[in-house]
Amino acid sequence: MSLQVEVTIMSGVDDGQHLDLALDNGDGQFDGRRWTLNIGRREDSDICLRHDMFVSRLHAHLHFDGSDWQLEDLNSTNGTFLEARGEDERVTGTVAIQPGQLFRIGRTWLQIEREP
């Protein structure tokens, strides 16, 4: 199984930037069951949001089990959110997320791209 994904930054100073992530390039961890990507402000994060002061050092995880994606908030200070009509929905613990669906880490919106 080839583990790779494209994540796009959807707001902030890096709005529009595409991040190509692949296990083969050393992105994320695979524990035999699922692939996990780190999101945070730390330089060694797989998805590094260094310009957003509202992002925690280790803020959230994206998990992929080969078919479905999950988003996990790691008790971040300013929260992880899913886009919803009206107010954004705050994530506690782990929730399912679809490619194309927007999620917010601190102030930065992100999106997992649908497969080409």
């Binding site: 959807m10 902030g12 100073v13 529009g16 310009h51």
Partner: protein, 682 residues
């Protein structure tokens, strides 16, 4: 038309990004800059969809959020997406044989790249993106090609003493621009900027179209109402109901906007609101009509669509009371080390103690409050716990006066990390002022208010305990502002609701508590004098509804009490737990406290509201069902939950449970004995 070039637009975009503390140029700044052009393309196009540029700008700012005080890079870079959008705009210009993109090229480029934040905001506001792309390509700004003024005439029922302001007339003419003439039949309600009229449009051949209800208000309120209607009301309306027609009319030249509601009724129908109806016809059979028409028609989709909901009363009712604090802006002050920090999320128990100790002039630091409204006319920043129409978001209001609103950018929904102010007034002082305005015949600080040989509780002693109470109730879609003026009555006593500006999901009984307060203030007190004696007489009739005393026979008051009784029957059907009236009494107590602070209610009405709040507090303090086997502790103890241990609550608890056991209004009680002062008046 002058051509506005990309470089001109970038000047605005840079200013916007600095004010928002973003320090980069993103598509959101480009879009806002386009919308800020007076009479510009983007603004004109969105106006066709009934959106004002300011309304859209604020929605984009809310979505983006203000940056932090720290600047993390030098210069003002452009985001990859904004680069892309500008490249697309340049291609559009080149295709057209021009070197530099203009306003239209940029708008077309923003619309073609569908993933940007401003485009997502427009989509959430209900703008059809395909239509927008088409309009961006083809729209030609017209030079105000409106037909000659729509003539405005007035029907026989219009109150000639009421003057409609020029700005409102301007909006009306725009709303009915396709008719040569309109006739304003009557004014339903009118309060400050908000005006609701019944209007008959008349065609060129003198044929009359069906009358509609036209509402004019501040553009923000009208556009919020449209959003709310789409979200809450549209799918939940019974067949015969007022419906929103067309797009709102929101001209650039005015702060006001207008919408029309159709009544789905025969031409020539004379719609009248209940307040005027009661004045003209009295209240005979009104209770029956309310139950059969209004309640039966709306309950299935609204109040009976309820779900269990356990909440602390403040979550639904705190916003009704005066603000926690009114502050004078003092951001240049270095706060003393012991300055009171009022932080969202609020620790209510702690805040309650500190708020009571605050003196005028004390420094207070606010953290994480949301901007509810920027009132430029009064120069006041209105803050609350959050932003939105739900009651808990509007709780814990704080008003800040004297903010420099021209130099500092604030937008609705902004979360302000920190703001320093000095106390001007506390909620308690404002409530105390309201009681003084009633010219009480008792001491405003005493615990008990005498009623004949009995007494009720002084609401000023208990409102905080009421707010802390846990309520077992239900939530449903509610109208949110169900007063007599918002119910129309037509032929055969059919009834419609109008004005969905406050419709939301909330405590089911809020609507009926609001309605009872309105009924008491507007109908029951009508024609009665303003004296405390009369207010007490009416209260005794209300008490009779609780079966505690034999109903007095007072022909002046009884028919109206019959209507209150009908409301209570409706409430009985909506209670979350049958026969557990605490849920309603707490709603009514807090709605009544709000009402006695209203300057617009008659003095007699406000006096009655004060006493009613006291009666409800008294009812809440003891077992409501005398026939129940054993009253649960909640029936007696006001203070369920963590706040039970605070000293103030103890005092309050004693007030009800041990001081005078099982005593209420009917027990003989010498008024003099209750005239002991709680504390000296400062």
């Amino acid at each position: 038309m002058t051509t506005i070039l990309l470089r001109d637009i970038l000047v605005n975009a840079r200013q916007e990004t600095v004010q928002m503390r973003h320090y980069y140029i993103g598509v959101e700044h480009l879009m806002i800059a386009l919308l800020q052009i007076q009479g510009g393309l983007a603004g004109s196009i969105l106006q066709e969809q009934g959106l004002t540029p300011d309304y859209v700008i604020e929605a984009i700012r809310r979505k983006a959020g203000k940056g932090s005080a720290q600047r993390m890079w030098v210069g003002i870079p452009t985001t990859p997406r904004a680069e892309l959008v500008q490249d697309i705009a340049k291609e559009f210009a080149l295709e057209d044989g021009r070197d530099e993109p203009n306003e239209r090229d940029l708008l077309k480029a923003i619309v073609s790249e569908r993933n940007s934040l401003p485009i997502r905001v427009l989509s959430a506001l209900g703008v059809d993106l395909d239509w927008l792309a088409y309009a961006a390509n083809t729209y030609l700004p017209t030079t105000e090609a409106y037909p000659p003024d729509t003539a405005i005439t007035f029907g026989a029922d219009f109150d000639r003493d009421f003057v409609i302001e020029r700005e409102h007339l301007f909006i009306l003419r725009r709303m009915f621009a396709s008719y040569p003439r309109i006739r304003i039949e009557r004014r339903l309600t009118g309060f400050r900027k908000a005006l609701i009229l019944v209007v008959t449009p008349i065609q060129a051949d003198e044929r009359e179209a069906a009358p509609v209800v036209a509402k004019i208000d501040l553009a923000d309120n009208i556009l919020d109402e449209v959003q709310r209607y789409e979200m809450h009301v549209k799918s939940a309306l019974p067949l015969q109901a007022a419906r929103l027609e067309d797009q709102p009319t929101a001209p650039d030249a005015s702060d006001l906007a207008g919408i029309k509601y159709t009544l789905v009724a025969s031409v020539g129908m004379d719609a009248q609101d209940l307040r005027s109806y009661v004045r003209a016809q009295g209240v005979d059979n009104l209770g029956q009509h309310l139950k059969q028409e209004l309640y039966t028609r709306f309950c299935k989709n609204w109040w009976l669509q309820n779900r269990e909901y356990t909440f602390q009363a403040w979550m639904e009712y705190d916003w009704l009371l005066p603000p926690l604090l009114v502050l004078d802006f003092a951001d240049d002050t270095v706060p003393p080390p012991n300055a009171f920090v009022l932080r969202i999320p609020l620790n209510r128990a702690k805040a309650r103690t500190r708020l009571h100790e605050l003196q005028s002039g004390d420094v207070v630091i606010l953290e994480n409050f949301a901007v509810q409204r920027v009132d430029r006319e009064e120069n006041v920043l209105k803050l609350a716990m959050g932003y939105g129409s739900e009651a808990d978001k509007r709780a814990h209001k704080v008003e800040v006066r004297g903010v420099n609103l021209t130099e500092n950018l604030y937008y609705r929904g902004e979360i302000i990390e920190r703001l320093v102010g000095r106390v001007w007034k506390t909620r308690h002082e404002m409530l105390m002022d309201a009681v003084h305005d009633l010219h009480p015949d008792f001491h405003p600080r005493q615990k008990w208010i005498p009623i004949g040989r009995g007494r009720v509780v002084n609401p000023l002693h208990v409102y905080e305990d009421l707010l802390d109470r846990h309520v077992t109730g239900s939530q449903s879609k509610i109208h949110g502002d169900l007063h007599l003026g918002n119910v129309l009555i037509g032929p055969n006593n059919s009834m419609w609701l109008i004005d969905f500006g406050h419709t939301r999901d909330g405590h089911t009984l809020f609507d009926w508590a609001t309605f009872e307060v309105s009924l008491l203030g507007d109908a029951v007190m009508l024609g009665l004098d303003d004296s405390w004696d009369t207010a007490r007489r009416v209260l005794r009739h209300l008490l009779a509804l609780h079966g505690k005393v034999t109903p007095p026979v007072d022909d002046e008051i009884l028919p109206a009490i019959g209507v209150v009784s009908a409301i209570r029957e409706i409430v009985g059907e909506c209670l979350a737990v049958s026969n557990r009236w605490e849920e309603y009494y707490i709603a009514l107590a807090l709605c009544a406290i709000r009402a006695f602070t209203w300057k617009t209610m008659s003095l007699g009405g406000r006096r009655l509201m004060f006493l009613l709040a006291g009666l409800m507090a008294l009812e809440l303090s003891r077992p409501i069902q005398p026939d129940a086997l054993t009253p649960s502790p909640e029936d007696i103890d006001f203070s369920v939950g963590p706040s039970a241990s605070t000293p103030k609550t103890e005092v309050f608890h004693n007030l009800f449970s041990s001081d005078t056991p099982d005593e209420g209004i009917t027990q003989p009680h010498p008024p003099d004995a209750s005239r002991q002062m709680d504390e000296p008046e400062s």
